[in-house]
């Protein structure tokens, strides 16, 4: 029924989801269901399904009356977006829907997080926090020598994880870039598969990977390094491939027109455009990895995190203060250095 305007499928489905979401919240507000009702997955699923169908119907009805819904505003192709009169978005139907959805979500969010000024200003709780902070701000420097040794280990863990991840991410980034992989159905399939795989890898926090690897290769820096490396490959491949997606097509055309082969086009037209951003991303990643490596130690991934969790567990806040000071200084130095290097190679 939509013909070549296939974006309408996405738009209608999106509208239906927004409709179902808003009406669910409305129903929740009206009936204030009990916990038992909320846990009844089967009934709730049926209700949601009905709301979704109702949403589809509403969206199609609105489309019939030529009212631009939120889904259409988002998914319509660029050449259509520029057509028509320039009306401020809050005066359009889709703009009102967007604003409504946003404000309702904010309200529900505040309720869900149990935001409370009373708890925030409770004297007893506040006193405890003050004691802890006081301890941290009067560090015990007896543990400093150990802390320095451990932070050195942490920096090396982060460095090796980054260096080992770079070549893998470099090669894989070409297969994750849309403009490189839009040639045939086969390449598109590889693109989708890899993208999905990396999304999964990235959505699992390195701390979980560290737990898995510490079972696999034993507790210690090796497990932490492997966890960071895996996460780094996935993150860098994504950042790298986005860089490939926004290269200037001119040189690519220029080299293609000389009769060069695919590999030569990659090497001479694409690689020179991405080298500097790649270096910048990599240094930034190393910086992030140093910060993450301190956390990874918490679950037995080696480095200064190991030490931090020991003292924190015994509520020895002065020692924790000293370790925190070391971590903060190193992270600050890494951050400044990496910002400086990224600036210098622009």
């Amino acid at each position: 029924m939509f013909g070549k305007n296939s974006y309408l499928y996405k738009a209608t489905l999106f509208d239906a989801i927004v409709f179902a979401y808003l009406s669910t919240l409305l129903l929740f507000g009206i009936f204030s269901p009990s916990e038992e009702n909320l846990l009844d997955l089967k009934t709730n699923f049926q209700i949601e399904f009905a709301l979704l169908l109702l949403g589809l119907f509403t969206s199609l009805t609105l489309a019939k009356f030529k009212i631009k819904t939120l889904g259409i505003a988002i998914f319509e192709p660029p050449h259509k977006k520029t057509q028509g009169l320039a009306v401020p978005f809050y005066k359009t139907f889709w703009g009102v829907v967007l604003l409504t959805a946003f404000s309702v979500t904010c309200y529900v969010g505040i309720r869900v997080t149990e935001f409370s000024f009373y708890e925030l200003t409770n004297r007893e709780g506040f006193g405890g926090a003050v004691r802890l902070i006081k301890g941290i701000f009067s560090p015990n420097f007896k543990v400093l020598p150990r802390a320095i040794l451990e932070i050195i280990e942490t920096v090396y863990i982060a460095f090796v994880a980054t260096v080992l991840a770079v070549p893998l991410a470099f090669i894989l980034s070409f297969f994750c870039a849309k403009n490189m992989m839009s040639g045939s159905v086969g390449t598109k399939f590889v693109y989708t598969l890899l993208r999905g795989f990396f999304n999964i890898l990235r959505s699992v926090e390195p701390i979980i990977w560290a737990i898995i690897f510490s079972v696999w290769v034993g507790i210690g820096p090796f497990a932490g390094m492997l966890a960071l490396m895996l996460h780094t490959v996935a993150s860098l491949a994504k950042q790298y491939s986005e860089q490939i997606e926004c290269i200037d097509d001119g040189p690519v055309e220029g080299i293609q027109a000389t009769g060069a082969s695919f590999i030569q086009v990659l090497w001479f037209a694409v690689v020179p455009q991405i080298t500097l951003p790649y270096v910048a991303f990599t240094i930034f990643r190393w910086d992030i990895n140093v910060r993450m490596a301190t956390i990874i130690g918490l679950v037995g991934g080696g480095g200064i995190g190991d030490m931090l969790i020991q003292y924190q567990g015994q509520a020895m806040w002065e020692e924790v203060g000293c370790i925190a000071l070391v971590i903060v200084s190193v992270v600050w130095i890494m951050d400044t250095a990496s910002a400086y290097i990224r600036d210098a190679i622009k």
Partner: protein, 255 residues
């Protein structure tokens, strides 16, 4: 004489439904300096890019050097492209590489992949690249980064890269559209020199009619994807001009 290139009833419809070419036929004799004129969006660029398969045509026939290349695929396309050098409005150099390296890229199709990636171009190729840089008067800049050059210089490097391919024909897509009037003549003079001295056939897209009269040996005009004029540059009078560019358009003289 057999035409070097003949295009028969070429059509191109883009995925968004725009009909860029609605059946264009023309042929090009060896040694010609053929200029294609027309407004932006008339299909000039599409025409050139279909010829060397940067864009795949939707229908029609392209015969190059006696061979039907309309449905060429893979390595065949690379061989065709090697014989049809192209220069572009935005120069399309690799700006971070040196000028000489950019010219050497014209020899990629005959250099083994590994050798080219490692940068091992033979001494003969390097000497040849240098000769072409001399031909376009830019040999003193050979070891500068291409990104540092001015627009006119970049286009001359692009011409040297094109010559490096040993092409049978040169396709020039709006080669002077982003240059100032003075530089524009320098680049056009080099193209004319190449056409006269090396006998290289040229197809060139242009905006300015004054340039056309000065450089072309033959002109075709495109309007909305169709051929509306074919003949000598001198025969384009006021009447034809209005027909090609629309009423109310004024000739801009660039001397």
């Amino acid at each position: 004489m057999n035409p070097l290139l003949s295009i028969k009833n070429l059509k191109k419809t883009y995925p968004n439904g725009v009909e860029a070419l609605k059946g264009v036929s023309l042929s090009v004799q060896p040694g010609e300096f053929l200029v294609v004129i027309g407004l932006s969006g008339s299909g000039k660029s599409t025409l050139l890019k279909c010829v060397n398969h940067l864009i795949d045509p939707s229908a029609g026939e392209i015969i190059f050097n006696g061979k039907d290349i309309t449905h060429a695929k893979g390595e065949e396309v690379q061989q065709i492209r090697q014989q049809m050098a192209m220069i572009f409005q935005s120069f399309n150099l690799v700006e971070r590489h040196s000028v000489i390296s950019n010219v050497l890229m014209g020899s990629l199709s005959r250099t083994p992949i590994l050798k080219s990636i490692l940068g091992f171009f033979s001494t003969a190729e390097k000497a040849k690249a240098m000769d072409y840089l001399k031909l376009v008067g830019i040999d003193d800049q050979a070891y500068y980064r291409a990104g540092q050059l001015s627009g006119g210089q970049k286009q001359r490097v692009a011409v040297a890269r094109a010559l490096m391919q040993n092409p049978k024909i040169l396709l020039a897509d709006e080669p002077v559209a982003s240059l100032d009037p003075a530089t524009c003549h320098v680049v056009m003079d080099y193209l004319k020199k190449i056409n006269k001295e090396l006998g290289l056939t040229i197809i060139c897209n242009l905006h300015f009619l004054s340039l056309v009269r000065q450089y072309a040996t033959r002109v075709v005009a495109l309007k909305n994807g169709s051929l509306v004029y074919e003949g000598s540059p001198q025969e384009i009078d006021e009447k034809w001009f209005e027909k090609i560019y629309g009423e109310g358009a004024k000739q801009v003289h660039v001397r």
